[in-house]
Point group: C2
Chain length 197, copies 2
DNA sequence: TTTAAAATGTGATTAAAATCATATTTTAAA
DNA sequence: TTTAAAATATGATTTTAATCACATTTTAAA
């Protein structure tokens, strides 16, 4: 968890429910709030002219999202949507910035949070620009396991082929075909269409 | 400038000269120092198996680089090289972290710095994943002008076709051909092979 | 100043992923 | 429980940037 929920509430945050599929904010919009997830799941993504989607990141309970534009007077570079029914603590931008000023520990925390984000984005671009579909998928699977502290065990990947495609910037068909090849090479397991890695 | 040079020196930083083409650090290496450029230019990049290069970012006088891994005990995700003769102030990681603790204003500054980085990386991935060569090149040119506060005037772009290709993840030939098309459409100007936008 | 290396340019060919079309299976909603 | 929508699957075709090969021009180094 980034900010303690009680502190957020004391400072004026309110919880808001979002139904699955509801938007939290849109690309190009100026940020008004700091958001932290109580429960559920949020996806930040972009869509291009042809409707192709790219998933920038996904956030779950305890995580905050969409903070960078709060600090630099910028519009959101992507849209946030509830991937499932989600409850979010929201606090006004100014109140949040005041809160940050009050708690030096929070500043340290957000520096680390941002450092991780920059790091992971750097890895993502590197893989997308320089690698084959297979490497891109593997890099995604590895980072997903790492994020969930399941580094060293085989887990079921809770994403559809389409979702994976959106994360790595490929088309569904390409992901399906690549996963089949990877299964043959034993890089991944597929049982009853479910993916294990 | 990120950190005042006198402060850095007071805290034990030393200036080091790098010849053009000299490495400052390598991908996968654990960070030992905080780096800030006094003069010159530094490129951070990745190379894939086939030798194709991707430029993650470029930094000039007054800018620091390679800071995120200092905060998260991670190896560098890319290699840093001097693009020209460069002088860099270096200070030991621990001393830098102590310095950060001492100056709350520095913490605020690095939060903003990181916020900008995240923002710009998000834009970069979005463009690379979702756009045509032309859009990728335009996005790069726009962000270059913005970084140099030349938003609203036409400037000479100080990069070779190859360098642009490395920034946007395309091949030189593709960049050359795309720039020609863009010239016909008057999106860019090319005079004596120099590019204006 | 010469000369080698780097950068630009261009045509031809190839490769790889996107696209299109359509079938089947699974999942979730009415 | 039925039914519609979403997800998976697969073959055929197309598109587009990469690759290859090589010529010319510019730049920088000896």
């Amino acid at each position: 968890m980034f900010v303690d929920q009680d502190i957020l509430i004391t400072w004026g945050a309110i919880a808001k429910k979002y139904k699955k599929g509801e938007f939290i904010f849109h690309e190009s919009e100026m940020p008004q709030y700091f958001h932290q997830i109580i429960s559920g799941r949020v996806k930040m993504y972009n869509t291009n002219e042809d409707g192709k989607e790219f998933t920038q990141a996904e956030f779950t309970a305890g995580e905050s999202f969409g903070e960078p534009p709060l600090f630099i007077e910028q519009a959101y570079p992507a849209t946030a949507i509830a991937s499932e029914d989600t409850v979010i603590l929201k606090i006004k931008k100014m109140r949040f910035l005041e809160l940050m000023d009050e708690y030096p520990l929070l500043q340290k925390k957000i520096i680390q949070l941002f450092a991780k984000r920059i790091y992971s984005k750097a890895i993502t671009v590197r893989e997308i620009v320089n690698s084959s579909p297979e490497s891109r998928i593997i890099a995604f699977l590895i980072s997903f396991k790492k994020k969930n502290n399941k580094d060293h065990e085989e887990i079921e990947i809770p994403y559809t082929r389409q979702e994976i495609a959106n994360f790595v910037g490929l088309r569904v068909e390409t992901v399906i075909r690549t996963l089949h090849k990877m299964q043959e090479k034993q890089t991944v397991k597929i049982l009853h269409r479910k993916l294990y890695f």
